[in-house]
Amino acid sequence: MSVIKAEGIKLVYGAGTSFEKTALDDVSFEIEKGEFIGIIGHTGSGKSTLVQLLNGLLKPTAGRIFLNGKDIWQEPKKIREVRFKVGIVFQYPEYQLFEETVYKDIAFGPKNMGLSEEEIDEKVRAAAAFTGVREEWLQKSPFDLSGGEKRRAAIAGVIAMDPDVLILDEPTAGLDPLGRDALLAQIQNYHAVRKNTVLLVSHSMEDIARIADRILVMNHGKKAMLDTAANVFSRGRELEELGLRVPQITKIMMLLKEKGISVNENILTTEQAFNEIINYLGGSSRI
């Protein structure tokens, strides 16, 4: 059974006023348990709206959303439970830190769930380990941490709820390249260990190509594609029409092919490209 299923969801902001705007229109999809989904789309394509619908921060104007087979708006009083099961890390999550210590801030979610002290402690420490929040930071004030450290603490605050589905909206925005790679590796590791579902919204095609099983492409509030990374990026022309692009390395391989060099153009990472080119040149494909 799919963990998340969206059925014709539509969202209209400011319905009935002069500011009426359809942010999402008839979007349907299914996401299986344990999948790593990348969500791409240019600014204003409805990504953030979609994400907020999935955990019940917004209520769809039409259509239904199922979590583990149950309509999340069936009992509006229990929407908080949906939010514990679908954790969202918003853009620049470090701006939401507020507690006296990092430990307390990470514990905010589990505490709201009504867990016991021991359970909270266990979840906080596990989450801290996943996101690389060091033991000695836990008793510090979150405002004494550096930007990157704050980001990790804030992400830990969501992971600590141990959600079935973890949604991250541009978690690496504004980080330096090393910090970005480290954070992505930690998210991948978290996904591998916990085996739960992760949705990653990103503008970096390279990142998405490298780690997502499937990619959801949004355009003007509609679902443009939902397919494996290889299939999505093989439609480079269409992506460009949507204001997106393919990863640079894929682009290079496509250009090589256009020049008449018969290489496989369905390449998503530099390593694959390296092997492919070595193969083409007739060498052995070991790095």
């Binding site: 902001y13 400011g14 500011f19 942010a23 953030s48 709206t49 907020q52 955990n55 921060l57 917004l58 908080r80 939010r83 514990f84 954790g87 969202i88 918003f90 999550p93 701006y95 939401q96 830190l97 507020f98 905010f108 979610g109 709201n112 769930m113 405002f143 605050g157 969501v158 709820m161």
Partner: protein, 271 residues
């Protein structure tokens, strides 16, 4: 929620009233208010009300907007009119127990109601047709003489502009932080007053922190562009009195003269 937030009540447009200099609008508004109060009989009041209605029509803004602002003060109008109904002299029109309605009372009630409505209409014209930045700009220019008394007019106007400018930003930020905390299970909709106030802490602290951060950034950005107060500062949009303003002034003066004439030569009201 991501909805569009209209700041203040400004409705952009190209009408004659929109094109008036903001300073003229403020001064004329004050004059109109004074003359609405100066009207002593129904003829004068009718003239001022008619003038206000014509100005309202000239703004070419949907009448619904004006009705909305009238609806807000409807209760106030009704209560004031009701109280006025029982005060006054002249012929007794209706009497029951201790209540006595006289001709003067009836006159007073209608008079007060029309007067408040006209006041609200004409003040809405200013806020609907003038952008907040033009408004503060004009205020700064009008209050300039106060600098003689060491009042920091420019600084005050700048603070007002910045405050207005950041209202939508802060609203959006509040929205974002609330969503983020709700996503972590913060419960802001249930519980008693104390619980709800406590539930706001996770929103207020980040909001304060980010306000200070923003203030800091803004101060830095302003200093980088060599801002050092109002001295010797020129403007991109210079306020200018134009022929439109002259036209508005003449029309207004004619109306005001009419009010004075009505007051002087037409029969006074029984009150």
């Amino acid at each position: 929620m991501g909805r569009n937030i209209t700041l203040g009540q400004y409705m952009p447009g190209r009408s004659v009233i929109h094109r008036l200099d903001a300073r003229s609008k403020i001064l004329l508004l004050i004059a109109y208010m004074v003359f609405i109060f100066m009207a002593q009989n129904f003829y004068a009041l009718f003239l001022m009300t008619l003038a206000s209605l014509l100005v309202v029509l000239a703004t070419r803004i949907s009448l619904n907007m004006y009705l909305k602002s009238l609806r807000v003060i409807l209760v106030v109008v009704l209560i004031t009119a009701l109280f006025n109904l029982f005060y006054g002299n002249g012929k007794v029109l209706f009497e029951w127990w201790i209540f006595k309605i006289t001709e003067g009372g009836l006159n007073n009630a209608v008079f007060v109601a029309v007067r408040i409505a006209a006041l609200v209409l004409i003040s809405s014209v200013l806020t609907y047709t003038t952008s907040p930045s033009d408004l503060t700009d004009a205020l700064e220019r009008l209050l300039k003489p106060l600098t003689l008394f060491k009042v920091k007019v420019h600084e005050l106007a700048m603070m007002m502009t910045i405050a207005l400018r950041f209202i939508p930003v802060l609203l959006e930020e509040t929205d974002k932080i609330m969503n983020a905390q709700k996503a972590r299970g913060a419960d802001m909709e249930s519980g008693n007053v104390f619980k709800r106030v406590k539930a706001l802490i996770p929103v207020l602290i980040p909001l304060f922190v980010s306000s200070f951060r923003r203030a800091n950034d803004l101060a830095m950005a302003m200093e980088c562009r060599c801002y050092n107060g109002g001295k010797g500062r020129t403007r991109m949009k210079v306020l200018r009195f134009t022929r439109t303003d002259l036209f508005g002034l003449i029309v207004s003066l004619v109306i005001f003269a009419g009010v004075i004439l009505c007051n002087m030569y037409l029969p006074q009201l029984v009150r």
